[in-house]
């Protein structure tokens, strides 16, 4: 998210410094799948953002050369396991089509043609041509590389410890834990601290409620191209939008360029607990086998976990914060951070260059949570 903001701001001619606590892309970026999806969102402001972002990522892919960020317009396939879920899915796709999503309802024959190894229990589904994927860490590094070429500076291993304010209370920079750059002055500061953006916003005295939602991904041994698209079940959409605190799992399966198959997705609200939970891994494995039976004989090579940055209303926080002039937010994108990064960076750069943003930022405004809780 920070890299996309830096890339678009640098492209717009702004002078940019990126401050990163760890290594580049070492936060949630390193623990996600790099999805650029329109399929998993219901009509509304987030879907508008996703549609814009999907177009922008295609453009980024062309500018940075697709292969350097492993951009793949692979398309998404949603599998319905029962007539009921097929009905629900058709309802969703009908709504999505009205907003410009290329969603096609498919029967079992088309499904088996798109995904020959999918379970024969499936009754149909939907195909989304716009769904794409990048290798998230590479995409981040390449965006920053391009930003550096445009004059941006990048400070890895540098944590923000506080904000600098002027006499009127406006944010004019950040203090860091680095001896080389203890203070960085700036006209604007963008909070793109991912799952830790909530903590950072408190440091700025303009809190936004960004909280961690833990997820695991299973990675298999390298295989030939046995899973062709991003494949998930109709229940996934419901889970993405849910606010349940307990464990939720739904199947998301996809192949990668390296040949490994990635299996998600679990959602748990357990704070920043980094421990491995075998019951969750087992459930993910069992559900993936349910969709792709051949996976039962495939070896699990590794697993990783990460924390999605979510807000209580499941919408990201994008735009200037009226409570702290000079501070902008680009956070709270939950599991769609990579996908929505393109649009978020682009819209913020438009705002900072004095242009009218392509999308209305009102639904994403940072102070909306205070209005909601009397």
């Amino acid at each position: 998210m920070g890299a996309a903001c830096a890339y678009y701001c640098a492209t717009a001619g702004l002078r940019v410094s990126v401050v990163e606590r760890g290594a580049i892309g070492s936060g949630t970026t390193s623990a996600c799948e790099g999805n650029i999806l329109v399929s998993d969102k219901e009509p509304g402001p987030e879907l508008d953002l996703a549609l814009l972002s999907s177009r922008l990522w295609r453009r980024i892919g062309e500018e940075l050369v697709r292969s350097t960020i492993e951009y793949e317009a692979k398309g998404g396939v949603v599998v319905a396991g029962s007539p009921d879920s097929a009905d629900g899915l058709r309802h969703l796709t009908a709504g999505q089509r009205t907003t410009g999503v290329d969603a096609v309802d498919i029967g079992p024959d088309e499904l088996f043609e798109l995904e020959p190894n999918v379970t024969r229990q499936a009754v149909g589904g939907a195909f989304y041509a716009q769904d794409a994927q990048v290798q998230p860490v590479l995409a981040t590094a390449q965006l920053l590389r391009r930003a550096r070429m445009l004059g941006a500076t990048v400070h890895p291993g540098t944590g923000v410890t506080g904000f600098v304010r002027d006499g009127q209370g406006a944010v004019t920079g950040v203090r860091t834990d680095s001896a080389d750059t203890p203070v960085l002055y700036a006209q604007w500061v963008i909070n793109a601290a991912g799952t830790w953006a909530g903590q950072l916003s408190e440091l700025a005295g303009a809190p936004v409620p960004v909280l961690p939602r833990k997820g695991f991904i299973l990675v298999t041994e390298p295989l030939p191209r046995v899973v062709r698209h991003k494949v998930y079940t109709a229940e996934y959409v419901a889970n993405v939008a849910s606010s349940d605190a307990g464990l939720e799992t739904s199947v998301v399966v996809e192949g990668t360029r390296a040949g490994t198959v990635l299996i998600g997705a679990s959602r748990e609200r357990v704070g920043f607990d980094r421990s491995i939970s075998l019951p969750v891994l087992r459930k993910l494995a069992a559900q993936a086998i349910g969709v792709f039976p051949f996976l039962a004989d495939v070896s699990l090579l590794r697993t990783y976990l990460g924390f999605r940055p979510y807000c209580p209303d499941h919408l990201p926080v994008i735009g200037p914060d009226p409570r702290a002039p000079g501070l902008l937010h680009a956070c709270g994108h939950e599991g769609a951070g990579i996908g929505l990064a393109g649009a978020t960076g682009h819209l913020l750069a438009q705002h900072l260059s004095g242009e009218k943003p392509d999308l209305d930022l009102t639904p994403f405004r940072p102070d909306r949570f205070e209005e909601a809780t009397p």
Binding site: L138, P222, L278, I289, V298
Partner: protein, 483 residues
Amino acid sequence: MTTSRAERPAALYDIAVLGGGPAGLSAAVAAAAQGSRTVLIDAGPRPGGQYWRHRDGDDGALHHGWSQFRRLRQELAAHPLLDHRAGHSIWHVERTDEGFTTHTTHTGHTSRDGIPRALRSRTVIVATGAYDRQLPFPGWTIPGVFTAGAVQALLKGQGVLAGKRIAVAGTGPFLLPVAAGLVGAGATVVGVFEAGLPTAFGRHPVAALRNLPKLAEGAGYLRTLLKHRVPYRTRTAVIAAHGTDTVTGVTVARLDDQWRIVAGGTREIDCDTVAVGYGFTPQTEIPLQLGCEMMLDADGSLIARVDSRQRSTVDGVYVAGEACGVGGAQLSLIEGELAGLHAAYASNGPSVDRGRLARLVRQRAAQRAFAAAMHQAYPVPDGWQTWLEKDTTVCRCEEVSAGAIREAVDDLGATDPRAVKLYARPGMGLCQGRVCGYATTCLVARANHRQPTADDLRGMAARPVAQPVTLGALAAGADDNGS
């Protein structure tokens, strides 16, 4: 979803010993003898680990300490409180309310699939040993280039010679028994090429005196080599292997004290096999899974931190042998026995044998001093990095070259090995960085103008799934009541 193959974890053991090499055997036997219900879990079909790898009916002629092994093996088979689970590959150890559940796949002789088995215990003793530390060099991926350990394992375990004309290269005392074993079995060893200059050992007279048997052992190997006219060259390394389908020869070079190639000191030698070892890398997946505090050892390895009782920083987790510091079989036996005794005392509270403990602690101190002197005598300076070409493979699973690693640092701004792993994929393949983790760490650290740290190594060594397990086996465990 299949749940029929689920195995309900059996009884709760007092102690699970993970690994059946010298440290694990010694720990399990000591613990059971104190009255602890103990299980020894090991991937191998027979006990003994890498050090005592043997065949059925083996007379032990190729082994050191065979009588020690026979005693331990007999105790293992006979003690009523001690169960041996052979053929169990551990892929994850889970903390539970009652202690730990060790998740394994059991490899039977009939089925290709691993059958999931979970073993519950109050305490675990991690004795997972070490494997050869490898450094890449041009041609090291050509068939015919083996690790020194693999060549020895082939000989000890199958009675098979890896080749006819063999070059033995690397650093450390382990090269000597490997070469001596090969000539003893009838191979031609074209030379032992020791990159170091092991003279620093003379500066540790006390460590040396206390370990006369070990020095005598080394001298014995040297005599064998001399008898067979095998050249032993120090400050010399195999810097390249040649051939396409198989090794046809190597380039051997004289090195300076930083292991840079000395101009004019290279020559070609014909051979069909190369056995290479640059020390050992401890297997630390399980301590890392359990959240044990780790540290950098004198030999540059990541190891688990232990206290005087072989306890890690996590309650109920003991570590013995190479996983808490590479030091050889004798040290492993002592640490194993100490870990077994202390774990038994802690779980069953039998009366403590202070005399025995005091003797073991003294022996451990002597062995550790010896190990420290060895690490100092056989350092691995980073001049080996100059042997690499841009296109030299570093990670063979994912075919990542030294140049690609360099680009990840120079062009993409990677500051640590984990970032390089994410950008360029070294360590992402089937072996999960076991082979290239150390080399990648050193390459990235140097490219960033610094020394490797424990955190760097951890980034390449953390493996939540220690051994591949099928998704079917993983899913089938869903009904385990222990988790």
